[in-house]
Amino acid sequence: MIHQTAAQMADALAKGETTSVELTQAHLDRVAAVDGQVKAFLHVDSEGALAQAKDVDARRAKGEKLSPIAGVPLALKDVLAQKGVPTTAGSKILQGWRPPYDSTVVSKLKDAGVVIMGKTNMDEFAMGSSTENSGYGPTFNPWDLSRTPGGSSGGSAAAVSAFEAPLAVGSDTGGSIRQPAALTGIVGVRPTYGAVSRFGLIAYSSSLDQAGPFGRTVLDTALLHEVMAGHDAKDATSINAPVPAVVNAAKSGDVKGMKIGVIKQLQGEGYQKGVQSRFDESLQVLAGLGAEIVEVDCPSFEYALAAYYLIAPSECSSNLARFDAMRYGLRTGDTDGASAEVVMSATRDAGFGREVKRRIILGTYALSSGYYDAYYGSAQKIRTLIIQDYAKAFAQADVLVSPTAPTTAYKIGEKVDDPMAMYLGDVATIPVNLAGICGMSLPAGLADEDNLPVGFQIMAPAMQDQRLYQAGAALEAALLSKWGAPILSRAPELKGAK
């Protein structure tokens, strides 16, 4: 059951072939069997999940009209507030915190009857690309437990990849959905900025953050996308427009006549050979399906990484100021007579990990008087140039493509002491966030040299998310028929798995 797609599970539920309680229990059993090795979850809410499942089954029995994925279980990145359930953002500074409110994404999932199984591991406050920056230990890639699943939504990606859940929610600020999807062989989408409410999404970089869906197939991801997206009056940056018809696009999957732009700057040197090969092959597949491949030039993309590593830390240095031991979260250092100021500083030192502290200090510097224009101010101008380059490119192509990440999954511990090397892993995903457009990663195969998953990235203009699903579904179907079986069937079996 757990190896089905979410669409198949939904179908079975609709037909009465199974119940949500059965389905949820099967997944909880899977979690119990394998998560000791994968460590995708920070908190498994068995009681809550089964109660939700029971409720959905009851509603279905009454003949209530339900959303297409009602009753299907889901793993939620621990960056989203869920009322009464521990929410940590992967940080010790929020250990034990139970929000008194639901994020809008969680409200929408609950309304749709999706069963939230638990909260998944992540790089602390979404800062990282390997989930090694979690305050609670790393998550391990189900393809090779000595490797990272990517990050920052590593837990959610691993959960879906290891069949612990058919669907998951992540967040993507610099590639944190797409890159883990690539490294674990699943589909991940970063919707247009403003398409999914950020109310209740614990903020890292406000102008770049966006929550998004993971699934094992393009259609599954589309089904979740439609439930999650939509305008929210509680988020002033939320777009007031209908959700693009992503499910329909995923079902049609036709690229005849579609112009596909390959970004000159996002390939070639610096990209692992196996990654580049799978990418080139996928391009040929798409051409074979009737798409036209063109090359586009985006020179400002060379500066995207630099701009990102000024904007994101600046915004996060301000967003994370609220963690001060006064109203919630960790409080330490309050021995006899210690002042509030001392307690704040001691708590923040104890509660934040190295990467978070690094980015807060960098951001504080970039915003400080005398440096604003040179750093943050300039980075916001680079952003304009990136938006302009995308606009020019989208005038020549319907979607743009690149490999999602320059390498396949690397070993745990390999890059954690070399922040610059870690940051370079985001080079292909970051431009999407800076421009606020949408992007998808889907499996393009395995790299020859290490048999590890490679991701193919598709990018579309703002609010044209359906193009991702259209092109993605076409590529997925063609690759499936080429491989004969889904990519995940080639993943090694986990110990204790049934």
Binding site: P100, G194, K357, I361, T384, G436
Partner: protein
Amino acid sequence: MSSLSRDDVAKLAGLARIEMTESELVELSSQFGMILDAVARVQEMDLSGVKATSHPQPLENIARPDVVLPSLSPEDALSGAPAQEESRFRVPQILGEAE
């Protein structure tokens, strides 16, 4: 090569209210050099005449009507409080004065 000295980092840590150990300060200072070089690349470009983008979407005038909606109960509001007294958040002695 741009760099931040250990003292520079200490000052920033003070602004950011993060008490850092000596080794943390030194380590950060050494890592910053590389990061700053990388991000200093933004200054290589000729950005004169380019407008800054602070928002990817050209939204304007998003506001809400002046209507009261239910607040959290005080129990919920205080539910995460490390310490509370008489329905208020209890915090250690504050040294500085309010703005």
